[in-house]
């Protein structure tokens, strides 16, 4: 079987599987969808056979393929659960699983620094922020604004209904236009993979690798690059542990963090400055957004939610022009 045919078949199977698993889908056959999804993965990995190209790295020190398959399966299953779970908190938790699995994939690619940076920043900062926002924004998530009066009329609320609606809102239970989205998404995936399997040899590889070796040799002159062919060959030749330790001077090896640092500050200094500016802009923007007052008439008459502006500092009260500006920000329609 031609490998592109296997890929397209896998894309079709995956599309059908995802359509069955989507929340609120008419068919309610999510286990069949799970089975089809696993089948799609199997067809993609086995059916393409020898068409995989781009051998990475030498023989010694390469991760076993089992690590890739396990981490990849966990990542893809968790990704499906992120987009199909009905409760937003669980979506965020499954996304933490995706981050952990992709950190494992990064470790198997010898990118240890990036793996741990990913875990710390995504799992430790960004996802915690998501959890806080979900917690802040879930006070009345079970009710639409028009249903508040109807709830007041109901004398004895049905226990199972209220507990279920407290967790799942109407807009979480049903996906919108899932079939078009799945068709478009998997058509894109089929094209991407079809292109990705055409073996186009890169002509710039030896020059780029030589340039990076030169940079490291000038900046860290006492170190030894661990992926040099001589080092790998010396490791392969020595069969006992002492010989391997002598052939691989790990105390002198360039670590992944050092290599990334050298390339970052030598090759991309302007990008570092721009990243700093972007972070500053985002910080100022977040503070401005948090301080915007939402007055009573926009709220539909519930209460004034001006908590964001009242806390921080006294120069706020001293300037009427500041509150006018922010008031126009909150009443203006063009800001959002």
């Amino acid at each position: 079987m031609d490998h592109t045919l296997a890929l397209y078949l896998a894309a079709v199977l995956g599309a059908v599987a995802l359509a069955l698993i989507m929340p609120g889908s008419r068919y309610r056959l999510s286990y069949l969808g799970l089975l089809l999804g696993v089948g799609a993965l199997g067809v993609a990995w086995i059916g393409t056979g020898r068409a995989w190209w781009g051998e990475i790295g030498g023989g010694v020190g390469l991760a076993m393929p089992a690590y890739y398959y396990v981490f990849s399966t966990v990542a893809l299953v968790s990704a499906v659960r992120v987009i199909t779970h009905k409760v937003p908190v669980y979506s965020a938790l499954w996304f933490v699983m995706v981050v952990v699995a992709s950190a494992g994939l990064l470790v198997s690619l010898s990118a240890e620094f990036m793996a741990f940076a990913m875990l710390i920043i995504y799992g430790g900062a960004i996802l915690v922020t998501y959890m806080f926002v979900i917690m802040l924004a879930s006070q009345s998530s079970g009710e639409q604004p028009g249903e508040l009066a109807a709830d007041a009329k109901r004398e004895i609320p049905d226990a199972s209904h209220s507990s279920a609606s407290a967790l799942q809102s109407q807009y979480d239970r049903v996906a919108r236009e899932p079939l078009w989205a799945i068709v478009a998404g998997f058509a894109l995936l089929a094209v991407l993979l079809g292109v990705g399997f055409e073996d186009v040899p890169s002509s710039t590889t030896p020059e780029m690798a030589a340039q990076s070796r030169e940079d490291l040799a000038t900046l860290l002159p006492d170190r030894v690059l661990m992926n040099e062919p001589e080092v790998i060959a010396a490791q392969a030749e020595s069969s006992d542990s002492q010989g391997a330790a002598a052939a691989r001077p790990s105390s002198l090896g360039v670590t992944n963090g050092e290599a990334v640092g050298v390339d970052l500050f030598k090759g991309h200094p302007l990008a570092i400055e721009l990243a700093g500016v972007i972070l500053l802009v985002s910080l100022i923007g977040a503070v401005v957004i948090a301080k915007t007052r939402v007055t009573e008439e926009e709220q539909g008459g519930v209460r004034e939610a001006g908590e964001g502006g009242a806390t921080v500092d006294s120069p706020r009260e001293a300037g009427p022009t500041d509150s006018e500006t922010l008031g126009s920000l909150s009443t203006g329609r063009v800001g959002m």
């Binding site: 890739y68 924004a137 807009y171 979480d172 995936l189 990705g196 923007g285 977040a286 948090a290």
Partner: protein, 106 residues
């Protein structure tokens, strides 16, 4: 055709990165909860991160990993602003539904 694959290739990781990206895209278009929509954009970033790391390993050049740092920076900045906006939008309509803002369309 059915030979067992004895070593890893770039295409393996590109496959995983592409599927993560496309799943994030489908989730972004399909879900109506604002927070889950932004979570799916973060998942698109994850797909790109895996692909970048694999390309860095393919060419034995560490610039791919350097760009993961920049992707991480942009993702963090975008998450901060997006969540601030979501909280503000929630304060106005008391709902996280994206369809509640559909009166702006058309």
């Amino acid at each position: 055709m059915m030979d067992p694959i004895s070593s890893l290739t770039f295409s393996h990781y590109f496959f995983t990165g592409a599927v993560l990206f496309v799943l994030g895209m489908i989730g972004f278009v399909t879900r109506r909860n604002l927070i889950v929509m932004f979570l799916c954009t973060e998942m698109m970033f994850q797909g790109v991160v895996v692909t970048l790391a694999a390309a860095a390993r393919l060419h034995l050049h560490v610039t791919g990993q350097t760009f993961i740092i920049f992707v991480l920076t942009i993702a963090a900045a975008e998450a901060a602003l997006a969540l601030g906006l979501v909280v503000l939008l929630y304060r106005r309509k008391r709902t996280l539904d994206a369809e509640a803002w559909s009166e702006m369309s058309g």
